[in-house]
Amino acid sequence: MVDWLTRNIPFPPQASSVAGHVDAAYLYLVITTVSLAVLLAVLVITFAIRYHRRSRYEIPPQIQGNNLIEFGWTGATFGLFLTMFLFGAKVYFDLQVPPANAIEMYATGKQWMWKVQHPGGQREINELHVPVGQAVRLTMTSQDVIHSFFVPAFRVKQDVVPGRYSTLWFTATKPGTYHLFCAEYCGAKHSGMVGYVYAMEPAEYDRWLTSGAAEGSLSSQGEKLYQQYGCSTCHDLEGKGPGPSFRGVYRSQVRLDNGSTVFADESYLRESILQSDAKVVLGFKSIMPIFRGQLQEDQVLALIEYIKALENSRPNVESPSAGSTAGSETGAR
């Protein structure tokens, strides 16, 4: 009986740092609205009974209205609603701004499956292994239609829109297996695009990381693509090529040729990889070929992980033939 109860109590488990805040806001709303509803129901029913029409011919005293009462309850309701807004907004900001030290993972929504890539190179379909107590930041996109990454136990949801990145973060607090749903209608098997999030103790998570048959870390996969697609020919890491070097570019302010500066986050890197002539860096010409259509989303994520990894480590492989840039003149720095 107890097992049936715990299984069927209609309340999602609180398994993330922010779940408590969301439930607190939910509880506040439930209490205020239910008390208002009960008050109104009691009033309506008592008036209906107490002032029930005794004879078909009685005409009650006509009361036109009272402006004071009207302004009173208008102001009161708006004041009450504003407190709800403030509570909701505070929780919303906790949900939106990820902490700096979060593990960065990448998720790609594709018609009817979730593909997740870990920095260590592990790839998962419809599954996500995360350590407990450690913030995780998901940079997500979609390869076709709009999906939505929804983990009820963590109280987080974020639509993944094709053509741009979305961000979602959580910190699992309770080990366990939790549902992962797609919450934006995406076609025939929308209800099949589900999976599980495994929150594990850190030790167990490390054991899982090593056991996975990963072919090198994500940034090393990115580096392979970096060589394979000839990025290194123009974007020499020492900045000798016609293209800008990527060392230290991630999360820096980049000056563009139209005079504006832009914050180099993942979205900027993705747009510059796929649609190179959209934002041309100051002092460089827009001669880079368009890679849109040639690179898959998860390949772009691997490249971005490689560029981000450049920020704090010397390039671990000497690029032997990087010197002979393909006949193009040296770009003015």
Binding site: Q96, V97, P98, T139, Q158, V161, R164, Y165, S166, T167, R251, F263, D265, E266, S267
Partner: protein, 93 residues
């Protein structure tokens, strides 16, 4: 009455020539402001004189102004979203 129509017509032609000429000068963001401003002026001229908004009953003017207000609601709140994107340095926020 026809006299006002012809004067209005000439003013409209002049404004067309003006907006075309102005577009060749490089005024940065003011190019768009000038183009929309002149077009707005032409629209007002047509509405006031050709469509007799000048001497129409108040209700007709309310309808015209209402339409403009509702269009500006759609424009301003939608652009409001696109202008404030990227203020948080987090992709997609």
């Amino acid at each position: 009455m026809p006299r006002t129509y012809i004067l209005n017509y000439l003013a409209l032609l002049f404004l067309t020539a003006l907006t075309t000429a102005v577009s060749f000068l490089d005024m940065g963001p003011f190019n768009t402001v000038a183009a929309i401003g002149i077009a707005g002026a032409k629209a007002l001229l047509i509405a006031f004189f050709f469509m007799h908004l000048v001497d129409s009953p108040a209700l007709v003017r309310v309808v015209a102004i209402g339409a403009l207000i509702w269009f500006s609601i759609l424009m301003s709140l939608t652009l409001g979203d696109y202008v404030t994107r990227g203020w948080l340095p987090i992709p997609g926020k």
